[in-house]
């Protein structure tokens, strides 16, 4: 499998960043759709995987070499964010992957839908919407997919706490139990 170079992408879209640690192209805001169409035109016809990654606000300790040439530990705060990750391959050239990331805030998570470019994003973006709460602009059929429609919250977020009982609803059992405790029902 031949790797795809990210350099042409960065040349075409100067606003895009390259995240070396993750090996991913960070898509500049509002350019996801144009970029996706450009990539599709340049042979990346197959979008394998779409997913979200949730990062809470956290403190990162980094060892950097300062000007004096000494190693020192610096603490910096990374803001909370959600990444929507796309793994792109080319079926015609048999190359890949190229990783795209759309970065969005956690509180008002919004990303551009790439479903009109690659159909395979259809169900997977729905899944990201369902589990991470990212709102995809331009998605033709954005509904919950794995959780039921009445479900509240987005379970794949890191700060999600599950309620005591998902499907609790008052049933006759409770009444009977109460009556039983009062001694009204003889079992």
């Amino acid at each position: 499998m031949n790797e795809i170079s990210h350099e042409p992408v960065l040349q075409q879209f100067p606003d895009a960043e390259w995240d070396e640690a993750a090996g991913a192209v960070i898509v500049p805001l509002g350019q996801a759709r144009t970029m996706a169409e450009w990539l599709l035109g340049h042979g990346l016809d197959y979008c394998s995987n779409v997913t979200g990654v949730d990062y809470l606000e956290r403190e990162v300790k980094e060892k950097i070499t300062n000007d004096a040439g000494e190693v020192e530990t610096v603490t910096r705060t990374e803001p909370a964010r959600i990444d929507v990750v796309y793994h792109l391959y080319s079926m015609q050239n048999k190359t890949g992957p190229l990783v795209l990331k759309q970065r969005t805030s956690r509180d008002n998570a919004e990303a551009e839908s790439l479903t009109p470019v690659w159909r395979s994003c259809d169900l997977q973006e729905r899944e990201v919407f369902d589990l991470f709460g990212v709102n995809f602009k331009g998605h033709p059929d954005q509904r919950r997919i794995l959780m039921w429609d009445e479900f509240e919250g987005h379970p794949m977020r890191k700060d999600y706490t599950e309620p005591f009982d998902y499907e609790w609803e008052p049933t006759p059992h409770n009444e009977i139990l109460e009556k039983h405790q009062k001694g009204k029902v003889i079992v």
């Binding site: 991913a24 599709l40 979008c47 990654v53 159909r119 997977q124 794995l146």
Partner: protein, 383 residues
């Protein structure tokens, strides 16, 4: 191209005599939705005018579970994704994790991995064809023949790993244990007998006029749409794209084996193509198995990878050619013993993207066999 790919959620226009549409909810309790899958179908007589898949009845948030336990602990859970093919699921996960911790897999383990994966492919394809013909309405005869042969392979799995379906056999850097004595000989016998069974199976199915007329021209999937929708595996090859990760990625030691990738000549694939591609693929798998069984040598089966480890912060995406399509695992490590992000790219789910496109305008019986030809397992669709 994007026009071909654009999903269309409009109802089919109906002309002529105006009749009420019959809304049928097929599933989650339906004999042929392969589990708890549900299709909300709108019927005009027997013709499907609208179909919406409904997922989630088997959802257990596998990904969240795996993010809260160590890398090794979620290995048995991968068995339960696509419970027909636990070996290949294990392999995909091991592949992704091995990229993170960078261990070498010993040669014997690589050979055994290939043998197990190809046996799994045989199991999956043979039962899928059985279920597919069952959906066509045969009274389980092909299915039971398939189960008969699967039985022999599952016995091999049991002897090697201790379990028939939930094998939990692969480990990061190798395999859990070596196969017992004489196992390779027994595997060789099963593999040698398999082509005779396939001959019989093909004689039973491939020329049957009813099967031909039921499957040909049903569930057409054009190549453009298949590529755009990320359809993978035999379904993609049935639509005329010779894209097999065993050839493209050459993961493991697949570069050492000689095999061919069958694909359809034309631009569209129908149910018959998907069915036949699987039959032909089984023949190729037998070829690989024979080469692997001949080429395997004695040696270690486990590299020096620890059971519990803390990989450096990194991201990895490991994918293999599972029997149902491209099975990928996307892992993000953050330096703790647990993966920060663990994502499964389920081929069953993504292949379902095109279900609606293929079913519209067909009969209700077609919808059932199209679903059958996609080959889904709900453990993987809903995760």
């Amino acid at each position: 191209m994007s026009t071909a790919a654009a999903p269309n959620y409009e109802l089919i226009q109906q002309d002529g005599l105006e009749t009420n549409l019959l809304e049928v909810s097929m599933g989650p309790h339906h004999p042929s939705t392969h589990g708890v899958f549900r299709m909300d179908v709108k019927l005009d007589g027997e013709t499907v005018v609208d179909l919406r898949p409904v997922f989630g009845y088997l959802h257990r948030n596998h990904e969240k579970l795996a993010e809260n336990m160590s890398y090794l602990s979620s290995m048995p859970f991968t068995d339960r994704l696509d419970y027909f093919n636990s070996m290949t699921n294990n392999w995909a996960y091991a592949l992704a994790a091995e990229k993170l911790i960078e261990v070498e897999v010993p040669e014997r383990a690589e050979y055994l991995r290939v043998i197990m994966a190809e046996l799994t492919r045989l199991v999956n394809h043979v039962t899928l064809i059985g279920f597919f013909i069952n959906d066509l309405g045969a009274l389980g005869t092909p299915l039971l023949y398939a189960f008969r042969e699967r039985e022999k392979i599952l016995d091999l799995f049991e002897q090697a790993s201790g379990a028939r379906m939930m094998c939990n056999y692969f480990r990061f850097g190798g395999l859990r244990n070596d196969v017992p004595e004489g196992w390779l000989k027994r595997a060789g016998e099963v593999v040698d007998r398999f082509p005779y069974f396939l001959d019989e199976y093909e004689q039973l199915l491939c020329e049957n006029e009813i099967i031909l007329s039921r499957t040909q021209g049903v569930g057409n999937l054009p190549r453009e749409l298949a590529i755009s929708a990320g359809v993978t595996g035999p379904m993609l090859r049935a639509s005329g794209v010779a894209y097999d990760l065993r050839k493209v990625d050459q993961y493991g030691i697949y570069d050492r084996f000689k095999f061919r990738v069958p694909y359809t000549e034309g631009d569209t694939g129908d149910c018959y193509d998907r069915f036949m591609i699987r039959v032909l693929e089984m023949r190729e798998s037998i070829g690989i198995l024979k080469q692997a069984l001949a080429g395997i040598s004695e040696g270690e089966i486990m590299g020096n990878a620890p059971r519990v480890f803390k990989p450096k912060p990194a991201e990895s995406y490991g994918r293999i050619e599972g029997p149902k399509g491209e099975l990928g695992f996307y892992l993000i490590a953050d330096g703790t013993p647990k993966p920060y992000r663990y994502r499964v790219r389920p081929p069953s789910l993504i292949n379902l993207t095109v279900l609606r496109d293929m079913c519209l305008g067909g009969k209700i019986a077609d919808a059932v066999i199209i679903l059958g030809s996609i080959d889904i397992v709900l453990g993987e669709v809903d995760r």
